[in-house]
């Protein structure tokens, strides 16, 4: 095994977008960083539909062409009655990326910044002394060892096992997790290969939606995210594919993915003595569309800055690190909490009500809503229906 040191300033668990962002930031800030990933290949298999907006792309900074599968110019949302709303992104386009390449590129950047990066190395336990995290137990290819650290970053994704081993309560509540299932498919007959497509309806995807995110050459990620459903997510997607032979008649399956998507339940506290939690592990995902790449990258940078200061000042106490809670809530948390309210409302709409929204809303308005903005307008529309009066008030 390639040698690791026995002691670091910061150990980051999980080389997803959140972990790599923190590791890069801390290494650039002059800290000695170790980034550990249990999978044998960073980024694979993907647990993602790979859609990002231009604002996310800018945050990654100079995203290399090899990370992009397809540029996107808009989105078509289908209401349960098949009527659709077309959203033109205009100059603010989007991308469908290649996570396997993107995640490795982000980890490469952490490495270039000076972090030690180790795939196929799993953190199995957390070492705590006098109420402070002091190190981890790890395992690689059957070899077990301990490594000490001044601070541990739990960026271990939806599982959030490491943060919980360290004593934080980050368990995902069932109502706040989408069950996700996806095929990457070939030979599709897409309506518009430059747009993503979203299909809603209680039969298609209870409390969620089906997505088609094109990747070029008639391939696409075809997936579903649903909450609290009767049957496994796979069953709903298979039915959707069967019911739409015009799109899927000749389709091939290139890859099968699944995963849980935290869509709410933001944590008031994401730190402890010698411990910081970021990304999916801290439920940092947009609750309405399930996008977590932007959140992971933003939170990673916020956390990184505060960690650098704390380690350099020699104070990694919960109190010193709690600045991360404050900054994250100010910059992301409050907006995302409004989006969670939107989700709680949309989830409860029946098919007729969704059809009504599709008739009455413009693409621009829908985009604003997904950012937690102008929700009042939606509230005003819903409150006209007596059944929805109480629900709509959530948006006021």
């Amino acid at each position: 095994m390639i040698k690791m040191d026995n002691e670091y300033d910061v150990i980051v668990v999980g080389a997803g977008p959140a972990g790599s962002a923190v590791a890069e930031k801390c290494a650039l800030g002059g800290l000695k960083v170790l980034l550990l990933e249990k999978r044998q290949e960073i980024g694979s298999p993907k647990r993602c539909a790979e859609g990002i907006s231009v604002s996310t792309e800018k945050m990654f900074g100079d995203l290399p062409e090899k990370c992009v599968a397809k540029r996107i110019n808009g989105c078509i949302i289908y209401a349960p009655n098949k009527k659709n709303v077309v959203i033109e992104y205009g100059e603010h386009g989007g991308y469908v990326v290649e996570r396997k390449i993107l995640d490795k590129w982000l980890a490469t950047r952490a490495s270039i910044a000076g972090a030690h990066v180790r795939a196929k190395t799993e953190v199995t336990d957390v070492i705590k002394e006098q109420g402070f995290v002091k190190g981890v137990k790890a395992e690689s290819g059957g070899e077990r060892f301990e490594i000490r650290t001044k601070l541990l970053v739990a960026a271990d994704g939806m599982e959030s096992f490491v943060a919980r081993k360290a004593g934080m309560e980050t368990t995902n509540q069932l109502v706040n997790v989408d069950s996700g299932f996806q095929y990457e498919m070939a030979s599709l007959k897409l309506k518009d290969p430059d747009k993503i497509e979203i299909f809603m309806g209680s039969e298609v995807a209870p409390r969620g939606y089906v997505w088609i995110f094109p990747k070029g050459n008639n391939t696409a990620n075809v997936g579903i995210g649903i909450a609290m459903a009767e049957k496994p997510a796979k069953n709903y997607l298979d039915k959707f594919i069967e019911d739409n032979p015009d799109i899927f008649g000749d389709a091939g399956i290139l890859e099968v993915n699944s995963g849980g998507i935290p869509v709410g339940g933001f944590l008031k506290n994401m730190v402890d003595n010698g411990l910081v939690v970021v990304g999916d592990a801290a439920h940092q995902v947009n609750p309405i569309h399930g996008g977590g790449l932007k959140e992971a990258s933003m939170a990673g940078k916020i956390a990184g800055e505060i960690i650098i200061r704390a380690v350099k000042n020699g104070d990694v106490s919960k109190k010193a690190l709690s600045e991360y809670n404050q900054v994250w809530w100010k910059e992301r948390g409050h907006a995302l909490e409004r989006v969670q309210k939107l989700r709680e409302v949309v989830e409860k709409l029946n098919d007729d009500e969704l059809n009504m929204l599709a008739e009455n809303l413009s693409g621009k308005e829908i985009i604003e809503f997904t950012r937690g903005k102008k929700l009042l307008n939606l509230g005003k529309l819903l409150i006209k229906k007596p059944r929805l009066m109480k629900l709509a008030k959530k948006l006021f």
Binding site: F161, T171, Q173, V177, G260
Partner: protein, 59 residues
């Protein structure tokens, strides 16, 4: 009784994230289940996108 169909499981870890007792762990070899910790609440079964888990729910 907790059971997993390893042929169905895609090793995505969704079940791990909702288990309130840390009874599940995702290893490279697949899901580890600690029956001493498990309270048979069935949450893991309900989140599993593949329908790979069976739990006879306890009281």
């Amino acid at each position: 009784m907790w059971e997993i169909d390893r042929k169905k499981c895609l090793r995505c870890g969704a079940c791990v994230g909702v288990c309130p007792k840390l009874a599940l762990e995702l290893k490279e070899s697949g899901i580890n289940h600690d029956e001493k910790l498990c309270i048979e609440c069935g949450l893991c079964k309900r989140i599993c996108p593949m329908g790979a888990i069976k739990v006879e729910e306890g009281m």
